[in-house]
Amino acid sequence: MASAVDKIGTGPGRPLALRHRLSTRIWHWSNALAVFVLLMSGLMIFNAHPRLYWGQSGANFDRAWLQIGSDETQGYLKIGNRRWDTTGVLGRWNDANGVAQRRAFPHWATIPSTYNLALARRWHLTFAWLFAFGLLCFMVRAFWNRHVARDLSFTRDELSPRALWRDTANHLRLRFDHGPRYNLLQKASYILVIFALLPLLIFTGLAMSPGMNAAWPWLIDIFGGRQSARSIHFIIAAMIAGFIAVHLLLVLLAGPIRGIGAMITGRELRR
């Protein structure tokens, strides 16, 4: 197998093509950092009250639609009336020293790795600024330099059922050799994440703030109450975690050196 260095080396007749603009690259990596910190500190914050409710209010004596808990022997995840044994991962797990802990998310998934609500909130509420303003700057820049219009918008012929079917079939066959343009499913998932899920995380986050609830009461009404906003915040965070897993898998399958290299240097070998 050729080493990575050999592959990156530019042979004669293989010029480098611009793949990602500087603004895209800066945002990609600052956002990767912010999302990584926000997801994991968010799981630590969730550990302080590992129950989710719908409506304005909800506490231990109210009905939770989702709960991660533990009893004497096992950890469990409960959604509605269904309960799964999650011992070892959720609810009850062993820490780095092999000591059994009864918290919702395990030490390897949280920032900090031990229970510390105050510190997790500091991480979360500071990196939230990087996340929110990074996204805002990227959006403005992406409209301004026509990244959205040129690369992310659907073209008319792309939206035919046949094209949709072909793109889905290509993905299922793990064929990603799509050249310099984003394909349909890729565009759809980027648009969904950038323009729907990430902004919703910001707004559901703000909707949990008692100060914002007084200042902008309409915001909490959109989500149907503070505990609903908290539930939606958690669900969307889970969707983002899912997006990241698929994103990383596809990068690995489609050629990680070329993909990651292009997101760092902006350039990619022409094929």
Binding site: M1, S3, A4, F36, V37, M40, I45, F46, A48, H49, R51, Q56, S57, G58, A59, N60, F61, D62, W108, I111, P112, S113, T114, N116, L117, A118, L119, R121, R122, W123, H124, L125, T126, F127, A128, W129, L206, M208, S209, P210, G211, M212, N213, A214, A215, W216, P217, I220, R226, Q227, R230, L252, P256, I257
Partner: protein, 254 residues
């Protein structure tokens, strides 16, 4: 290059080492005083943004009676066992006194009977705990601004400190707020919850309601209200029991 060192193996191993390193790195960063300063930026930015961009007099939402939670749980101290509190509770708080002092022209010492006979405000509001749960209750009490007016608040006062009867780990609970929240119309010293005298778990006989901040700011078992110019020298200087000990945000509007 050895065949054992495949590209995928390298990437997978690199990711695992990277993730593990990042995690222990985050723990170490979180303990470093310099990095904690950076992590504290969020609180200052959130406070400034909310104070600057939103209406300082905005009212917290008030709910209707049908929204009231069937059970309003307690949290933190639920029954102080020290400082004469059990005796006060046994006597129905007949001998409980609340002192209003500090940077005021006329320090006050008030009995609960006097406080309950003062003009009152009732509000059905949602209580949001820093842990994540919320409960709705109807609070009745005297507006804090009225108490401060009666005592003659000095122009030099910047903060109001609440000293409590409960101790956690041997240290007395206390909290503080600035004058924007202290003089807010919904900031009351509550003596009733859901039309009954305050239960002990919720802070009997008197607790603070500061509706635009998280639950730990709402000091319970209040014995003294003190107007001050600075929070230096009070407790460990960060303005509250949890702020001093575990570094909770002093501004808990988010």
């Amino acid at each position: 290059m050895s065949r054992l060192l495949t590209r995928r193996g390298l990437i997978g191993g690199g990711l695992a080492i990277g993730a593990g390193g990042l995690l222990s790195g985050c723990d170490r960063l979180g303990e470093s005083p310099a990095f904690r300063k950076i992590l504290s930026c969020g609180e200052a930015m959130n406070r400034h943004a909310q104070r600057l961009l939103t209406d300082r007099n905005a009212l917290a939402r008030e709910f209707s009676a049908s929204d009231i939670s069937p059970f309003f749980r307690g949290n933190g101290s639920q029954n102080p066992g020290t400082g004469g509190y059990p005796e006060h509770a046994a006597a129905g708080f007949a001998n409980w006194r609340v002192r209003v002092s500090g940077l005021v022209a006329r320090p006050l010492t008030l009995s609960m009977a006097q406080i309950r006979s003062m003009p009152k405000r009732s509000q059905i509001t949602r209580h949001d705990c820093v842990e994540g749960w919320s409960a709705i209750g109807k609070w009745t009490g005297v507006p804090l601004s009225l108490l401060l007016d009666q005592a003659g608040l000095s122009d030099r006062a910047r903060f109001v400190v609440f000293r409590c009867a409960d101790q956690i780990g041997g240290a007395p609970y206390y909290e503080s707020i600035d004058l924007i929240d202290a003089l807010h119309p919904q900031t009351i010293m509550a003596w009733a919850l859901n039309d009954a005298l305050l239960p002990i778990r919720n802070g009997a006989p008197l607790r603070l309601r500061v509706e635009r901040q998280l639950g730990y700011k709402h000091a319970k078992y209040v014995q003294a209200i003190e107007a001050v110019a600075t929070l230096d020298g009070i407790g460990l200087g960060k303005g509250g029991y949890w702020e001093d000990r575990v570094d909770y945000e002093w501004y808990a509007g988010i």
